[in-house]
Symmetry: C2
Subunit: 320 residues, 2 copies
């Protein structure tokens, strides 16, 4: 723990999401199964070296995924959990401060994944541990998903990797990042749109292209995407700044710069922004749930996804 952490006041305002997402958040009965499976999968594919970090990551993924899709089947939950383990572990191992130190190395590490995502199974050299794990994930995904689902999810995975790359290039130079840029890229680094894309596979519905492009659906997805990234920023602020290196590229820093305000005021503004986005999401969820069919399924998925982000910020992974 560094001095930077200790100087963070304990009274920073946090968003109150209880009006929009009151809880309690239902959890799948498989929460512990997912957690145990995650720990085993990380034994097969050692993406995380520290036993403590492995255990924390298995726990947040298992318990989080159980809240993200409380009604999904066990096999689907295990696949989705491993996918998110992979993304999180990749970001922890190669992204953030590590990626910022050598962006070209990060590009090479990502290139292996791009090759696999493009469906070229002839990896030119032996795969890395992340390559081997991704190969396993994509084979399982191909088995379970319809072609459009597979294509959508793998497109989002590419965007997540690009987001990790984008962040690594700007951690040390956040002055190049505008608030609108940040808003556009942040959903990719928090993986929230990937979760929304997996929902159709996990819960067995499919939106038509027309439904997908409805203004209310797009507004719902954008509100949940904003909310997920921003509350994660607030929750992880202490963790991020406790690490070596810059690592402060996030909503609080951008708001401090934009409004020439102090940290507490930035947290107050950010909290209000979160509450507003949560209210928009809740209104669209209510509206779409009333329409029944796939739109209602999608709205319920967005609700549990948003709830899982609201839940996960209290996890010990975000306590320094």
């Amino acid at each position: 723990m560094t001095d930077a952490t200790r100087t963070i006041p304990r009274v920073l305002p946090m968003p109150d999401l209880r009006d929009s997402f009151p809880g309690p958040f239902p959890a799948s009965p498989y929460a512990d199964d997912i957690e145990q499976h995650a720990a085993r999968w990380l034994g097969t594919f050692p993406l995380v070296t520290s036993p403590r970090a492995r255990s924390a990551l298995s726990n947040i993924t298992g318990q989080g995924m159980a809240r993200t899709f409380p009604t999904a089947d066990l096999d689907d939950l295990l696949l989705c959990a491993d996918l998110f383990l992979w993304l999180t572990a990749f970001d922890d191992a190669h992204g953030e401060a590590t990626g910022a130190r050598d962006p070209a190395l990060l590009v090479r590490q990502i290139s292996e994944s791009v090759h696999l995502l493009a469906g070229h199974e002839e990896p030119p050299t032996g795969p890395s541990v992340f390559g081997a794990a991704l190969h396993d994930l994509l084979a399982r995904l191909r088995q379970r998903a319809a072609p459009t689902q597979y294509l959508r999810i793998t497109a989002h995975l590419r965007d997540n990797l690009f987001g990790i790359l984008w962040e690594a290039h700007h951690l040390a130079r956040p002055d190049h990042v505008t608030l609108p840029d940040y808003r556009a890229m942040r959903p990719h680094t928090v993986f929230v749109r990937t979760l929304m894309a997996t929902a159709e596979l996990m819960l067995g519905y499919e939106l038509t292209e027309q439904e997908r492009s409805l203004a209310s659906v797009r507004e719902l997805e954008t509100a949940v995407a904003d909310l997920a990234g921003w509350i994660n920023d607030l929750a992880s602020y202490a963790k991020e700044t406790a690490h070596e290196g810059p690592g402060q590229l996030g909503l609080p820093m951008l708001l401090m710069r934009e409004h020439a305000c102090d940290l507490e005021e930035a947290f107050r503004r950010a909290s209000r922004m979160c509450e507003q986005r949560a209210a928009v999401a809740a209104a669209r969820i209510a509206e779409l749930t009333a329409r029944q069919g796939p739109l209602a399924d999608h709205a319920r998925a967005a609700k549990s996804i948003a709830s899982s982000y609201a839940w996960h910020i209290h996890h010990s992974r975000y306590q320094t």
Copy 2:
């Protein structure tokens, strides 16, 4: 023209592809229409500032696309031509030496496209000229393509942008690039797999997932992908090295390093590699054409795509 260009011997061995792709290469009767449309489209979206470069790019795209898909409809050809204009102009404007000088800026320029490709039409700020042009392209693509076609093509576009980023990070440090790495990434920077993905839209066929994963189909696609990148490397060697900056990341340089040989020997080896890949492609084309249906359509598409790459290396764009 620099000294580096003048010292390149004129007798460098080039591949002889006549056995595998004998020509003459049939061309669409719409070649001139495509070229004129391309010039107009570049008037609407000024992606290229120099009139001379604009004219050369319209010409190679129009005449090249006419050879890539000689039997396609005019509207499809115009869309595909604009797509490739866009990719080429983006690479020329932001990639290569320019991207190598400021990779973080290139990342930000790409992030706008990633946002649009992900289907988020609410661009946070006013679009750049490349953003506006891509928006136009994606709207036209969405109208003409089935959802799976749209998803496949936009996935390839993401890979092309990643390839441009990969190249920019390694132009100045090609020592970090192995020959297998290069072979994996080069198809993305020459856009050849994107062309193969557009073939199904252009020619009105669709492979089943099972057909797509046949060993013969994969071998054909990989052979054409290798061939396209490698012959482009040989043809553009003089042009690339005539530019300021490094810009020599390509097959000749990698073979010189791998085999500790001179440029002429590297060109001889590269030419042999091209001829071998062309022979593999031709054999698979013959085999799949005999199977009729979508597999034969796909084989014919691969043949005309490979032919267009064999044709385009003699274009004046590649003469310094």
